[in-house]
């Protein structure tokens, strides 16, 4: 009982085509990933600071993000210093175990709600899970040193040694009920001493297939209140007039700051300038013949929201390696894992063609009805028309498919199903897709294993 989704998905079509185009454009220098690196984790690696520190310069910024139903929402988040816009969530900081990490935070003058600092008197950063964090400069706050908007150029420098590998968040440590909800958070990844192909020492993964999914929720009503106050020239406590965290009533649920279907648009899609991180999980099926040994993909969950989210992949169970950047003594398999607010998980993902679906069209013992005796919702589909992996079939006249090489798509979503809505519109919200391409093939010209040509 919902409106047709044709118009909404038509938007994805352009995005999907864009993904293909970018993948082709990147193929020369990029890793030979089916993904073309398009929605894999996009690391900010920082500069080299004094004392050999890995140094990041972050600014607290305000601006707008957009949602698939056409709404735009005023938010606060972080950006690399000098960037044209805020990015939501903040830049993903990637460091190596043992690194001295230095983050310099400033809050530029608040402007016109588009590219300035945030209209709060103070802001700061916490690094949950890190030990020995020092903060210098600024003003003493409740939890850490804070940047004072009343002091031009005020800066706080946070330093710590990345002592334990894993997936972390960083977030505002000031007026958290407001500032974290407004979007002041980001991801932080510490790679183990074994190297960047490992999630922890002894646990390696396919470096072409590393994904970071950051969860969050938004009550646009709270944001509108602050937006209007800000546009009226209010700052500091006055900008929060009317803001009641207890009345929070979420309408949007996000992965990497985007709601589905925007989630599956690639990294840096120009149509979402303030939401640069994609969330499509794209892998190749395991090779059934075993000629090419493919490592599992690594998926990092980080829940920056205020609610717990039960996250469920279709297609296969996952292997949980660690929680809150601390490895479990052994793997636990799960088909749904509830990620608590503030919690992170590291999981290994793979899909193996155990049933020999690929290519042959071998009968499956049941007779599928003709496609015109089935229903395609809204006239567009992520189904190829063929049950077998790597095959495409002609679809009914009024149906358009997004598949290009007979790949499979599996939803991967919050199972609190009211969270996979965009306000009141289904197949949205905290949902992404798991794209499974046919197994890699050995490309003699390139001298390496590559995704089938039609998938690239």
């Amino acid at each position: 009982m919902k409106l047709p989704i044709r118009s909404k998905l038509a938007g994805i079509l352009s995005v999907a085509v864009m993904a293909g185009g970018l993948a082709a454009g990147l193929s020369s220098g990029a890793p030979a990933s089916a993904n073309g690196g398009n929605s894999t984790i996009r690391c900010e690696t920082g500069g080299v600071g004094t004392g050999g520190a890995v140094e990041f310069n972050l600014e607290a910024r305000d601006g707008y993000i957009s949602f698939p139903d056409g709404n735009t929402v005023y938010t606060w988040s972080y950006a690399l210093a000098g960037a044209p816009y805020l990015q939501f969530p903040g830049p993903t900081l990637c460091v190596d175990e043992g690194d001295l990490v230095r983050v310099n935070l400033t809050n530029p003058p608040h402007g016109d709600n588009l590219s300035g600092g945030i209209p709060a008197d103070f802001t700061s950063i916490l690094f949950p899970g890190q030990t020995g964090v020092t903060a210098t400069g600024g003003t003493a706050g409740l939890l850490t040193q804070e940047v004072d908007a009343g002091v031009p150029g005020d800066m706080v420098t946070y330093e710590f040694t990345a002592s334990a590998p894993g997936t972390y968040l960083y977030e505002s440590g000031t007026d958290q009920a407001v500032q974290v909800q407004m979007g002041l958070f980001g991801g932080l990844v510490v790679y183990p001493s074994a190297g960047r192909g490992f999630v922890y020492d002894g646990v390696n993964f396919d470096t072409e297939n590393e994904f970071l999914l950051i969860f969050h929720e938004i009550d646009p009503g709270l944001h509108v209140g602050i937006e209007l106050n800000s546009l009226a020239g209010l700052t500091g406590d006055a900008v929060l007039d009317g803001y009641d965290p207890v009345s929070r009533h979420n309408r949007y649920w996000t992965i990497n700051g985007r709601s589905f279907p925007d989630v599956i648009a690639p990294n840096d899609t120009p149509v979402l300038p303030t939401q640069p991180y994609g969330g499509l999980v794209q892998i190749n099926a395991g090779d059934p013949d075993g000629a090419y040994i493919q490592l599992p993909a690594l998926v990092r969950y980080a829940n920056a929201g205020l609610d717990n989210h039960p996250f469920h992949p279709h297609g296969n169970s996952l292997r949980i390696i660690a929680q809150d950047a601390r490895p479990f003594p052994d793997e636990i398999e799960a088909y749904t894992e509830t990620v608590a607010a503030g919690q992170t998980y590291d999981l290994l993902a793979e899909w193996n063609d155990v049933e020999a679906w690929q290519g042959t069209g071998a009968p499956i013992g049941v007779t599928l009805p003709a496609l015109n005796n089935t229903m395609f919702k809204g006239g567009v589909t992520f189904y190829s028309g063929d049950a077998d992996l790597g095959q495409q079939q002609q679809l009914p006249l009024d149906v358009t498919t997004f598949t290009t090489c007979g790949e499979y798509y599996f939803p991967w979503h919050s199972h609190a199903l009211q969270e996979i809505q965009n306000f009141d519109e289904g197949f949205g919200g905290m949902l992404t897709l798991w794209r499974v391409d046919p197994p890699k093939e050995f490309d003699a010209d390139a001298g390496q294993w590559l995704s089938p040509t039609a998938c690239r």
């Binding site: 919902k2 509830t338 899909w351 193996n352 009805p369 089935t374 919702k377 599996f410 996979i420 809505q421």
Partner: protein
Amino acid sequence: MMSEPKSQYGRRSFLRNGAIASLAAGSGVAAGRGLISSAAAAGGPGFLGQATPLVDVVDPLVIPSIRLMTTDGHISAPGRRFSGPQPHPIYSFGFRDVDDQRLHAAGGELNKNPGDLVTKYRGKVIATSPTIVVLEGEEMAIVLTNLGFEGRPDLDDGHSLHWHGFRNATAVFDGVPETSVAVPPGRDLPYFYDLKTADEPGQTVGSAGTYMYHCHFEDVEHVQMGMTGVIFVEPRDMYFLPDGITPKPRVKIAYNDNSAGVDSSFAREFAILTNEIDPAPHDNLEALQEFVWSDYNPKYWTLNGRCYPDTVIPQITPIEQKAPVGEFLDMPLVPVTDDEKAEAEMYYQRNSSLIQVREGERVLLRLANLGYEIHSLDLVGVGEMRVIAHDASLLIGKAGDNDLTYTSRRIELGPGEARDAIFTVPAYDDLNAEVDTLAARMSPAKARKFNRYLLKSRAGDRLHNNGEVDPDDGPSYAKVSDTHGGMVTEIWVYPTLLDAPGLGQDGLPDQDSVNETFPTLVVPVGQV
């Protein structure tokens, strides 16, 4: 009746390798085994049950299959009853099986065309859906037949079936209409899955464990409207020696033998699905109104689709599915007593959560959550549970030799998650026992007593029915003094069979099917 095991290789692989001959015979295996866990069809002594032809889409000699019909109807909750001065049951959607699962030639309904089923079943929803029991090593199919809506003939909603949690599942049978296909009204589609064993190629673990199934078409609406069910896979070691060929006496275990030494054996098992109900979208749908799903705000909390005290009303099965063994009590055509009136309210909510056990037994709880809230369930007074599996995965680590099972008094269950937990029943205490009026109704000669314990939500606000705990609110099993509603069920502990005669009691029979109650209520002929 013991069947042959499936070949080590999947049939599809076989066909690819050109070995077509003799397959039908080889995998005819479990065709004699029904999938629905009614008192009749579940794996009772000797695999009694019926094949399900559905010859149009599935060859029953190759693949055991069941037909589930999707439709709408009403369900009952305290304050929202079929009977009483102001009848106002809750509009719902659901899957249901046919009443008569015998072969067509014998008068059954299994291979009728969808059109033949509409008159009898459209508008007669059953929610939650039947618990489906399948055997590891078999290929299987659930044929989904969309009967349309009686109450909303203007809606052309499709339906689908999602195999929730099954490993290496394929897209076309994933049941998500945006990434595969859906079933339009008046059509059907067989949803196939191959329940592989651990020793088949590409496998590291077998398929045994507790899963779910639900509709994924307009998922937030159809799932909340009631299209949810439990499906679980019995381990192959339960039926065959390690060679995979030699039959062995059926020993109840939840998972295959494992080098970690985890004991998954049990005497009785109960599948319990947690849900919530927000009446607003149900009422809006019936009144042709939209609902804004981000306003979801439940008022009822259910176990197997029922609120306490309805949760303890016995299991209900159609008379055609009545097994040759077991205790049965006919549902009266015209209910007279309060208990009978309460039972009649449950015509369309057939899954009981009543847990009847004998002292000292190991009892397996298969807990699954298809609500949208996280639930925390307490086992009050019974002691501890051993949680042996999460999400159909025995807790034995990557190499399978690490016992990661744990003891808990509480199960925390997120939406879409499942847990398998085993508890040992405490000793029977005759001094504080209550008389089993159910057994007495079945036969005045059946003297039975039990001790009562609770399995319930920890959250006090979920122990209400739309804000009420008044047992006088319509026909009810509740005692006058009862102050519970919502997400609660009871555990009735009886003495051992050995002790029962000494205590002047008729003993509690062994369990033949999941969630079996003593007695089971039988829907009379002509009632659906």
